[in-house]
């Protein structure tokens, strides 16, 4: 009995040491980013390692946002993210309602096609999509980065919402239909309010995706005043190749909104991730 207890204790010690070790490995890069962002230039990239800035140089943050149009890019990025969330919420939920609660010819076939496109290797779409936007005269505008969100918001979001809507009992809707409510009314006043958690998950994912997008803005936005943080940071890095402390300050500021969102909404982000990724 005693040896069993001892075995258990040893096992727990090993378990928690391994997990703690990995936690440290996972946290060190982030710590390094913040630490570097506060260092004077002479303490960046030194041998031996200078772990903490001495003294912390908060001025780096002011210098960083002055060195490139940080606030402009911050606003552009937020603006695009908000439009993407609004567009996706509205159009993906309409389409998902149609796929789950309305009957029409070809519906199931179209839904199968939708599923098939969820994991389409997107390489094959890049060039023609660019050409379409170019023919429309949309290059160097926000339209290529926004309009797709209003056109269904992506197969995956439609799928996620549709699966949730299916679980809402039809009787609820039938009662409203008998009372003469229009489909749009049923959708907006019954189905949407019942779907707040999944709508929230879709919003967060869309926000993260839009905020982190690099390829889209790189391809479509040529005028520096229209850039987002991702593209703007890239050009900042090319101009100030050696000032890692300022670059890390700007990087920390770019990451900060997402870190804050993560800590506030952690539960729905991780559970949404598990839901969307398990194939269940």
């Amino acid at each position: 009995m005693r040896s069993q207890k001892k075995m258990r204790l040893i096992r727990e010690i090993i378990l928690y040491s391994v997990l703690t070790l990995f936690s440290v490995i996972f946290l060190v890069p982030l710590f390094w980013m913040i630490s570097t962002s506060l260092k004077p230039e002479s303490q960046v990239m030194t041998v031996p390692v200078q772990w903490l800035p001495k003294p912390p140089q908060w001025r780096n943050y002011i210098d960083a946002v002055k060195a490139f149009p940080f606030f402009r890019y911050f606003w552009n990025t937020s603006f695009l993210a908000i439009l993407n969330v609004v567009g996706t919420l509205f159009s993906a939920s309409l389409v998902a309602y149609s796929f789950s609660k309305l009957r029409w010819k070809g519906r199931n076939q179209l839904f199968y096609i939708t599923i098939a496109t969820m994991f389409i290797p997107s390489q094959v779409l890049i060039i023609p999509t660019y050409l379409i936007f170019s023919k429309l005269g949309w290059i160097n505008t926000y339209l290529p980065l926004v309009v797709p969100a209003f056109c269904g918001g992506g197969a995956f979001n439609i799928f996620l919402l549709r699966q949730f809507f299916v679980s809402i009992p039809d009787e609820l809707l039938e009662a409203a239909r008998i009372d003469g409510a229009s489909e749009f009314r049923i959708y907006s006043q019954i189905v949407l309010p019942l779907s707040k958690p999944v709508l929230f998950t879709v919003s967060i994912f869309t926000l993260l995706f839009s905020w982190n997008d690099f390829f889209g803005p790189l391809l479509y936005l040529h005028d520096p005043s229209k850039w987002t943080l991702a593209v703007g940071l890239r050009s900042f890095q090319q101009q100030y190749t050696t000032t890692w402390n300022l670059l890390m300050a700007a990087s920390t500021l770019t990451a900060l909104p997402l870190i804050i969102i993560y800590f506030i909404f952690q539960k729905s982000i991780t559970s949404g991730f598990a839901l969307s990724g398990s194939g269940k």
């Binding site: 389409v95 389409i120 660019y130 990451a255 991730f273």
Partner: protein, 296 residues
Amino acid sequence: MPEESKRSFWKRKSVIGYLFAAPWIIGLVCFILGPIVASFFLSFTTYDGINPPKWIGFMNYKILFTLDPSFLKALGNTFYYMFGSVFLKVLLGLILAVLLNNAGKFMGIFRTIFFLPVVLPAVPVMFLWMMLFNPTNGLINQFLGIFGINGPLWLNSPTWSKPAIILMSLWGIGGIIVIFLAGLQGIPTELYEAAELDGANKIQLFWKITVPMLRPVIFFNVVTGLIGASQVFAEAYIMTGGGPLESTTFVNLMIYKLAFKDVQMGYASAISVVMFLILVPLTIVLFRIYRRQAEF
């Protein structure tokens, strides 16, 4: 309801259905189905984006496979990254998820830490890792130096550039961990209890119960991981520019450079079509998995 008005009732219903689905029907045609067809068409042409595309049959494909060693190199680089990163991510993700699942009341804290890098924006993360990988002053090689190991040149070495990018991708393993955790929590505990009564040890439990029960989740993660990793682009564009010696020229970087820098859109389309055809079996597999759970 008389037959006639019943039919018109359903017709009206149908119209409403189409109306609700209209945004997606437009999006599907304009941004997915249309572009796929167009890519196939363009791949048989030479096209500079300005003058009309000129039909040249299979010429682009012939050049790709016989005259352009950089394409096969890019394909090899991409496969290296796909399989390397997915294999390590799934393996390490599974191990960490199993450990987390046993962490009791501390599980939440560890999960928070492991998932945090997933939400960080890609571009800042790449700058950060460029610092960490610095051969002389970087944290990683200074750490290896403690053990007397002379660390590699990482991003500056043709041999180590891809492993470096793979290593960086492991930082984003939190997504897979969370998915595995959900899968683990779905395994009935009675299975473990019964096996333990039969005298199985922890390692046997892992191989005989955990892995078989998680097989669908593992499979799913491998397939989605491969498709996702095939799109590796920003890492090379920002951290290495495709070098050194083309060692990080991945297919998507090659497509980007050819289509938008050299405006050889026909040739670039041929590359995208080849990649598409290689990956389509994986897409079909995922389609089958999803269709099963979407029964009407």
